[in-house]
Symmetry: C3
Subunit: 137 residues, 3 copies
């Protein structure tokens, strides 16, 4: 059994942004030498998400608009009594989920034809971190 | 450490349908010979989901109606500028999540009394694939 | 490769409640002796969730209010034709997801500064169970 741990650092230009991290994750899997196993990818922040979907600019805009519809900015969240103003970003993180596990088969991400892995930033413009952990043989 | 990889193929009669795949997943775990570990089940498509809940026809109808309420069909998604019309299915896939990991204990799915694993199809009537990967000993 | 399996038992005072289980999960990881690997935490019930976010009382109230907004109590769910009245709790379980996987690095939960793991109860006041399974070396 082998394990390999790596971290990605992101600092998005926009407050809310969807970033394709498939290349970085595949590269870490390559470095790990694992041919059969899992790679787990988690946002280490409570206002961000990791999810799998399609690299298509329109659907990425739809994701951000849908997130705003279901988990809107609202000055009145209880969380804001702490002085924060990012309650909506916590809810968006829950909606999109903060982690994925991806099977590794024959040394590759075992993805369908359109699957890509994304970092969803909902409270950006500052340094954030993602853990990428590989386990297998 | 052992790993075992298998695929399920689904082609639903309806555009939107919830299919219980617990038997198929349990059979693959049996074939793998793994007694202690994890089985990971992922839809390999960006318009489908894998989730765990209850085998009860009423709640399955509720799931489809709830999905339609929170992620409705809408001709105006940006994604549709590509010629597609399934933007809602992408959103439904995010809402239900496309993957689960299930612990294997003493050779069995370590489930509570009512838990079953489901494939949620949101853009069906065509061949789709699910990866089932077992890792353990 | 080592595996270690444990269970948490919860019986919340309130019908809906969010319980921080980070200490219990970290203790099980410690007992397992695993230094590099994963711990998987799943609710074994279809009306509960496991998720990662922030230990802040305001955001926990926001989570429960948001769950009620997106997956409200409603006497008319199809599921209620079975005699049940907890259809909303099934939907809330889907919304928050019933499981997390947490990387273990150098014997610790590999968390960002604010991450904590929570049990989300949506149909409580009775005994519930959570499986915690550690795999690694």
């Amino acid at each position: 059994m082998k394990t390999h741990t790596d971290y990605l650092y992101l600092n998005t230009k926009n407050k809310k942004e969807i970033v394709n991290i498939t290349g970085e994750v595949a590269e870490i899997v390559g470095k790990s030498g694992v041919k059969e196993g899992f790679v787990h990818v988690s946002a280490m922040h409570i206002t961000a998400a990791i999810f799998i979907n399609d690299e298509e600019p329109g659907i990425k805009r739809d994701f951000l608009e849908w997130a705003e519809k279901l988990a809107p900015f609202n000055p009145n969240y209880h969380h804001h009594q702490t002085g924060e103003s990012n309650g909506d970003a916590h809810l968006k993180s829950i909606l999109f989920h903060h982690e994925v596990t991806i099977p590794i088969t024959k040394g590759k991400l075992d993805f369908g034809p359109w699957q890509q892995v994304f970092y969803g930033e909902f409270d950006g413009q500052r340094k954030k971190r993602v853990v990428v952990k590989v386990l297998g043989e």
